[in-house]
């Protein structure tokens, strides 16, 4: 069925069975693969996106039920400049990194509502996201840092950073 969506500010129509979880529409139909599959039952939060600004598990959200605008990790900022992304870089939060899109989306939603969260408020909001590598201590630190960035008290980079990897997707094979 044809379903109308607004994803990261762009209007679009997708033709998929209505019970398809939003996650799989994002990943395999729209090819936006920043949102991750972890459990499929709304336990781990790797698939967290915003629906109308609220964090939601896209793995258990049938696409036909989506009426609010969708924001994904790709839509947090075009260039990685969102305070949450900058804070995650400053604190060097990720280990494997797989769950972090979900962690950051939950954090962005939290900070929009609670600009200066306490540790208890952070724990309460982020309890819906699992991290198998155990980055929770750094997540707490990064949420505080993101809050500080939003309210304009920037903190210096804590880590040396290199020029990075070649941008974008894994190597495409020769045709």
């Amino acid at each position: 069925m044809a379903i109308h969506l607004t994803v990261n500010g762009r209007s679009m129509t997708v033709d998929v069975p209505g019970d398809t979880p939003l996650l799989w529409v994002l990943r395999d139909v729209l090819h936006m693969r920043g949102t991750k599959y972890g459990c499929g039952i709304g336990q781990c939060g790797s698939c967290t996106v915003h629906l109308g600004g609220q964090p939601a598990y896209s793995c258990i959200t049938p696409v036909s039920s989506v009426t609010a605008p969708v924001t994904t990790i790709e839509g947090l900022s075009a260039d990685g400049s969102h305070p949450v992304q900058r804070a995650w870089l400053d604190v060097d939060v990720p280990q494997c990194g797989y769950c972090q899109a979900g962690q950051m989306m939950t954090t962005a939603a939290l900070l929009a509502k609670t600009p200066h969260p306490t540790d208890a408020e952070i724990d309460s909001a982020l309890n819906r996201n699992l991290c198998r590598c155990g980055t929770y201590v750094r997540i707490r630190e990064a949420v505080h840092k993101a809050a500080a960035l939003i309210t304009g008290s920037p903190t210096p980079h804590a880590h040396a950073q290199n020029a990075g990897s070649p941008p974008g997707a894994p190597v495409e094979p020769a045709a």
């Binding site: 494997c96 309890n127 699992l130 991290c131 929770y136 804590a158 894994p170």
Partner: protein, 736 residues
């Protein structure tokens, strides 16, 4: 020791664009790796370093990245000696290629295996660039030095960038690796600095860098349904009906080819029988799977259960052990002389790796060649397995390595890779195979469960004089099930004058394998808990008791592969940092301690814990002290590994258990049944490294084992209740 020295061939190749490519053919013996499966093409470039004419330096990381930070750490070693500005360095993940030498991630070996060779790569290239500049200026090399990607002539202040020098440098003689002079550690500007993970910018912006993210034009998506019992085979399936479902392009059964099932399963036994569904989208394949009906022949695995294992183990514990693994002194005599004699039965369950990214691989079979994209930790073994099972020469298999969303040992086996390859060989298009979480947890290589029947004695002075352990595990005769062994050197072996380690094994038709800190992750819980029981029986302070134990000379003067001063130092350090015995704890709180030597690292932890009347536990803080040698190469990554180990251990402690029901089916298949710690329960964590005069060693594993016993020992100190089986949720405990 790892050293390239004379057994290596250094290679330099001029790039067509005028750049320079430098690398080595590394004799496998020098790296302690498996012999090459391929004949290395002797004149092709083997690159660890690429310097482009514009001066861009690209460094290649050879080992699979699973979140342990290798893609940052290995290039840091090269860059330090190459004398380049880290900010300007690019990093790349190597594909599987014999020219890189061993490419396995496991055993926390990357730091020790690469500490010398990767710095030699950088130092040799630096030397050649200096030689090129000296030649160009017609001055002595000794008048030149390299800094920040340029070579300078000391007296005239002339300089040339690496990019400008690369083409000439490629023609310079390769230095004898033995003659290379490493930088003085005091001059390090990269090693020892907290360094951001090189992929973090891509991670925080959601770039598709993981195995699951791989896509290529024309690709279809696959699921693979296997028997709920390992080794079960497809008898029949409603394939015709499945093929008619929306989006489904192909559906077929694979007979499978696994190593014959005896009383134990081989590690990485091959392709399991199952049904593949290939569809336009993964969700279409997965939706069709819900309508798939398979009749299975479940085989002998259906006759085993967790309850059966437990009762069998208890039975064996009452019999004479099947094997004696170590006997020092006279244990039975010493027991009769003991002032206090304790007996205790400990056990721990099977558990799953449960990395956040479910296993997956992509594959394309075209013109007789197989191309694979995977996050295997052991891709060379994966290629060999694919070759063997699917009868395709290794030389026709290419493996690309993609970042893994965690692995913790799950990637050491290659079942998902063989499945993807087998499916791709049956269809004319590339496929991505993705497991569900249930596939991942229900078909893991589990950390084996185990049972320990212990007896120990202290004398009237409080000294541990006798220790007997009958370990009941899984295996067949003298063959252990994969990762189910105990080492005869497992602590406190050699530290107790009268020591007996015995074993009996039970058959097991289930895949088992290495989980982060294999063996130590379970043994440490048992040994450090029972040592704690004995310390309390001796009415000694748990740290004093352990220090005295460490001071015990080796029984019978035997050789000991254990650096006692290093362990003493971390134990003292963790006592100091946690204020052990020095501060008044808040009401209801108590401390527990444990230590473990594993994977070349010495670690001691202290946990501060409180337990409510309703058995709700709060871990307030964990102190982790470790000695992994003279350098912490990337302090940010090192601290992260320590923090992660604590969280990992707490997850295992409370919630993790894989059980088999009465029909041999795995009961727990998702995170709601095999839980991970959530942020609300995450304690404060203090990580401290004690530096010692030893070459740097790895951190992926050794910080994990002491976590569980440190907390259990704190629970005892707080409540007087001793934890002797895991997970503790089964004993009525919860998180506060």
């Amino acid at each position: 020791m790892m050293n390239l020295t004379r057994r290596s061939f250094f290679q330099v190749t001029a790039l067509s664009g005028g750049g320079m490519l430098i690398g080595t053919i590394i004799e496998r013996a020098a790296l302690g790796q498996q012999p090459p499966q391929h004949k290395a093409p002797p004149l092709e470039p083997n690159a660890f370093i690429r310097i482009a004419p514009d001066g861009t330096v690209t460094l290649i990381s050879r080992n699979p990245e699973i979140g342990q930070g290798i893609k940052t750490m290995l290039p840091m070693l090269i860059a330090e000696e190459l004398e380049v500005d880290w900010k300007s360095v690019k990093t790349e993940q190597a594909d599987l290629d014999a020219r890189y030498g061993g490419q396995t991630t496991g055993g926390s070996r990357a730091a020790s295996n690469n500490w010398i060779p990767m710095r030699q790569m950088g130092a040799a290239a630096r030397q050649m660039l200096i030689s090129a500049a000296a030649k160009q200026w017609n001055v002595a090399e000794s008048e030149c030095y390299a800094k920040n990607g340029r070579v300078y002539h000391r007296s005239t202040d002339r300089s040339l960038g690496y990019g400008e020098l690369a083409a000439v440098a490629a023609t310079m003689p390769v230095p004898d690796l033995d003659s290379l002079k490493f930088k003085d550690e005091a001059a390090y500007s990269i090693i020892g600095r907290p360094t951001l993970g090189v992929d973090v910018p891509d991670i925080v912006s959601g770039k598709p860098i993981f195995g699951i993210d791989f896509e290529m034009p024309g690709m279809l998506y696959a699921v693979y349904e296997k028997c709920p019992v390992f080794g079960g085979k497809v008898v029949s399936a409603n394939l015709d009906a499945v093929k008619k479902l929306p989006g489904v392009r192909y559906a077929f059964a694979l007979e499978g080819a696994v190593t014959q099932i005896g009383n134990v399963i081989e590690g990485d036994p091959g392709l399991e029988s199952g049904v593949a569904i290939v569809a336009d989208t993964w969700w279409a394949a997965q939706s069709a799977r819900a309508k798939l009906e398979v009749k299975w022949d479940e085989g002998p695995g259906a006759r085993q259960s967790s309850e059966g294992f437990a009762s069998h183990a208890l039975e064996l514990s009452k019999q004479k052990p099947q094997r004696a693994l170590k006997e020092d002194g006279n244990v039975e005599e010493a027991f009769s002389a003991g002032a206090k004699v304790l007996e205790a039965a400990y056990s721990y369950p099977f558990i799953s790796h449960a990395p956040m990214e479910p296993r997956n691989s992509s594959a394309r079979f075209k013109d007789g060649k197989l191309e694979l994209w995977t996050s295997s930790q052991q891709p060379a073994r994966g290629r060999a397995l694919v070759s063997k099972i699917l009868a395709i020469p290794e030389s026709d298999i290419t493996i690309h390595l993609l970042r893994a969303g965690g692995a913790f040992g799950r990637g050491l086996t290659n079942d998902y890779l063989v499945e993807a390859a087998a499916i791709a060989m049956k269809v004319p298009v590339p496929v991505k195979l993705l497991w569900t979480r249930e596939d991942d947890m229900g078909h893991d290589y589990y950390r084996p469960g185990g049972f320990h029947y212990l007896k120990g004695a202290v004398d009237s002075s409080g000294k541990l004089i006798a220790w007997r352990n009958h370990f009941v595990s899984f295996g067949d005769g003298e063959k252990w099930a994969n990762a189910a062994a105990i080492s005869p050197n497992e602590f406190p072996s050699t530290f107790v004058p009268n020591f007996g380690l015995y074993s009996s094994v039970m058959p097991l038709v289930l895949k088992t394998g290495a989980l982060r800190a294999p063996s130590a992750n379970s043994q440490c819980f048992v040994m450090q808990s029972f040592i704690d029981e004995l310390a309390h029986a001796a009415q000694k302070d748990p740290i004093e008791f352990r220090l005295a134990l460490l001071d015990t000379p080796p029984a019978g003067g035997q050789k000991r592969n254990y650096d006692v001063p290093r362990m003493r130092a971390v134990l003292q350090a963790v006592a100091d940092r946690s204020g052990w015995g020095k501060r008044k704890l808040a009401d209801g709180r108590a401390l527990g301690v444990a230590f473990q030597y594993s994977f070349q690292g010495y670690f001691a932890h202290v946990a501060e814990v409180s337990v409510s009347a309703k058995q709700a536990i709060q871990v307030h803080k964990m102190w982790v002290c470790g000695d992994v040698g003279s350098q912490i190469i990337n302090p940010s990554g090192a601290e992260a590994q320590g923090q992660g180990a604590v969280i990992d251990g707490l997850s295992e402690l409370m919630n993790q258990e894989i059980t088999l029901d009465a029909h041999g089916h795995v009961v727990q298949t998702n995170y709601n049944q095999h839980g991970l710690l959530r942020i609300r329960q995450a304690p404060q964590i203090d990580i401290h490294f004690v530096k010692s005069d030893n070459p740097p060693t790895g951190l992926g594993e050794p910080a994990l084992p002491p976590v569980i016993p440190a907390v259990c020992n704190a629970i005892f100190a707080a409540t007087g209740r001793r934890i002797r089986s895991l997970p503790i949720a089964k004993l009525g405990y919860t998180w506060a």
